[in-house]
């Protein structure tokens, strides 16, 4: 991959990102014409600003965050199958959400729903648990972190199943629906709730771009080049956890973006994180926004859960790129 080609691809992704952000709010159950925005007091204008724009922003931020976190975990664990949810953050959040749905927490705190708050608490709990477990036997190795995360993931998933088992049909349906992920936000509250976590987490991850290059070549090699491996691992773990906790609390565990967007970007711009970080963020954001636009238009007025669309649309796209690539 030449520098020039990679730079071109990133510029195209940037342009596509702007285009998607600008165009997506006009598309929906009923298309809104740009002129409608300039007519004072119109219903369409209201829908555009109050519903569509927040939703599109939420989708973009969530997609960018999940792709960035997935990329960071894949570099940290040197494992192409790592996802933002590998360490159990999503299962913790899901358990939190399930308990809130089962318990009927319908409170709103400063515009944030009880389910979302409870999901976030679950995410925080799982992060602390994984981190605490992996510290019992210091020094923290990546294998311990990974295995502790996977164990916590299964543990919370089982508790989630148990919660569903104890719930009636309505609650179970809502829990399962939550697990599919969705972007049914109704106002800017979701954006404001998510943005600080995703922003801070992505900043922590992006700060470590050189370290991620070296870590993906091997921990011992990274250490011999001067990377403080333990500190980098902690930064990436907490950065990704912030992102994933923030996103999942609002949107549920939307699948596919976090694992495949980084791979698609590796095929597009190469493995160097100086290009991969911007590419994954831009691609993830636009990709999830496009998927969500489809999710709310294809069978309008009903909606398909966006977690269904991501893999349906992204899977073939990834396979086409993968199989079209010149073999090494």
């Amino acid at each position: 991959m030449t520098d020039r080609r990679a730079r071109t691809v990133i510029l195209i992704l940037l342009a596509a990102g702007i285009l998607v952000l600008a165009a997506a709010p006009f598309i929906g159950m009923t298309a809104i014409s740009p002129e409608a925005l300039f007519q004072g007091g119109g219903k369409e204008r209201e829908i555009f600003w109050r519903i569509r724009v927040p939703r599109v922003l939420t989708a973009w931020i969530a997609g960018a965050g999940l792709a960035g976190a997935g990329m960071a975990f894949q570099a940290l664990f040197r494992n192409p199958l790592a996802t933002p949810f590998t360490l159990g953050v999503a299962s913790g959040a899901a358990l939190g959400a399930a308990v809130a749905i089962r318990g009927g927490f319908s409170i709103f705190l400063m515009g944030v729903s009880g389910v979302s708050l409870s999901a976030f608490a679950g995410a925080v709990l799982s992060v602390l648990l994984v981190y605490g477990l992996s510290r019992i036997r210091a020094p923290l190795t990546t294998e311990t972190l990974l295995l502790a995360g996977v164990a916590v993931n299964f543990f919370f998933s089982s508790l989630n199943l148990f919660t569903q088992y104890l719930s009636d049909f309505t609650h179970t349906f809502r829990i399962i629906r939550w697990l599919m992920g969705g972007l049914e936000v109704m106002d800017f509250g979701a954006v404001f709730q998510m943005l600080p976590f995703v922003g801070a987490g992505i900043a922590l991850i992006a700060w470590k771009w050189r370290e991620m290059d070296l870590l993906s070549a091997g921990e011992e090699l990274a250490a011999s080049r001067g990377v403080s491996v333990a500190e980098t691992r902690k930064t990436i773990f907490f950065g990704s956890s912030l992102v994933v906790g923030g996103v999942v609390a609002v949107c549920g565990p939307i699948g596919f973006v976090g694992i495949m967007a980084p791979h698609i970007c590796r095929l597009l711009v190469g493995p160097e994180h100086s290009r991969l970080v911007p590419a994954a963020i831009l691609f993830g954001g636009s990709f999830l926004t496009i998927c969500d636009t489809l999710a709310r238009t294809v069978i309008a007025p009903a909606e398909i859960p966006v977690g269904v669309i991501t893999a349906l649309l992204g899977g073939p796209f990834f396979l086409a790129l993968l199989l079209g690539k010149k073999p090494l």
């Binding site: 290059d213 070549a217 250490a223 011999s224 990377v227 160097e272 090494l328």
Partner: protein, 262 residues
Amino acid sequence: MTPVLNVESLSLSLGGKEILNDVSFQVPEGIHLCVVGPNGAGKTSLLKCLMRIHTRWTGSVRIMGLPVSSMTQKELARKVGYVPQAGERSFPFTASHFLLMSRYPNLSPFSPPSERDRQAVREAFALTGTTEFAERDMRTLSGGERQKVFLAAVLAQGAGILLLDEPATFLDPFHEEKVLAILESLRRRSGITIISVTHDINHAVLFADRVLALGGGEIVFQGSPAEFMTEDTLQGIFRRDFTLVPHPVTGQPVAVPSVPVP
């Protein structure tokens, strides 16, 4: 003169097993020290302790008088470079990106590589004769080519002390000679200190200034190549008999392969 490297009672246990026990030695600047010893003697572990890949050792290591415990990993990597044993260690970067990555201890997190960094990379390629591999994916290089690129990368890193784990073991005779010649010329020209682990006794004698032998995690021999190359010393270290003959050119004793006993 302060030695460039001063190791005092270095000990390491991994998983309850004692790997290194009370290892102490000094390395003067600009020499080539060969570390030898049977399998499992702790040779690789010693290098990994010095590079702080293993972090939980006890004792003291000083580089040019400074204790490494007071250095960040980045500061350490400016002074010490490491080439691991050849093996499955490929990754999808091009050789030139790998060399630029190896400039890490000299780079700040936010500024792009400077002309000085690019110059260091070009020089490292040139010194090791690997310029032709610059744009090749590391995964497409042969074992010998990759070894030379790893050597180039550690040179690009710019450290004055090189820790090399069996730098020539997997190379054919041609590339083996090339790599050893590169190391020798570096040491002469730039005063780089080399600590290499090897299983090749003759290589230890012909290329090293000093030999250090480990056995069961302890130092069992330290001295000049001439002192090392006696039948008794070798027998003591490796628990087998060696036949030594004078080298036809230099006259130094070298070990000849043993003949199978009928």
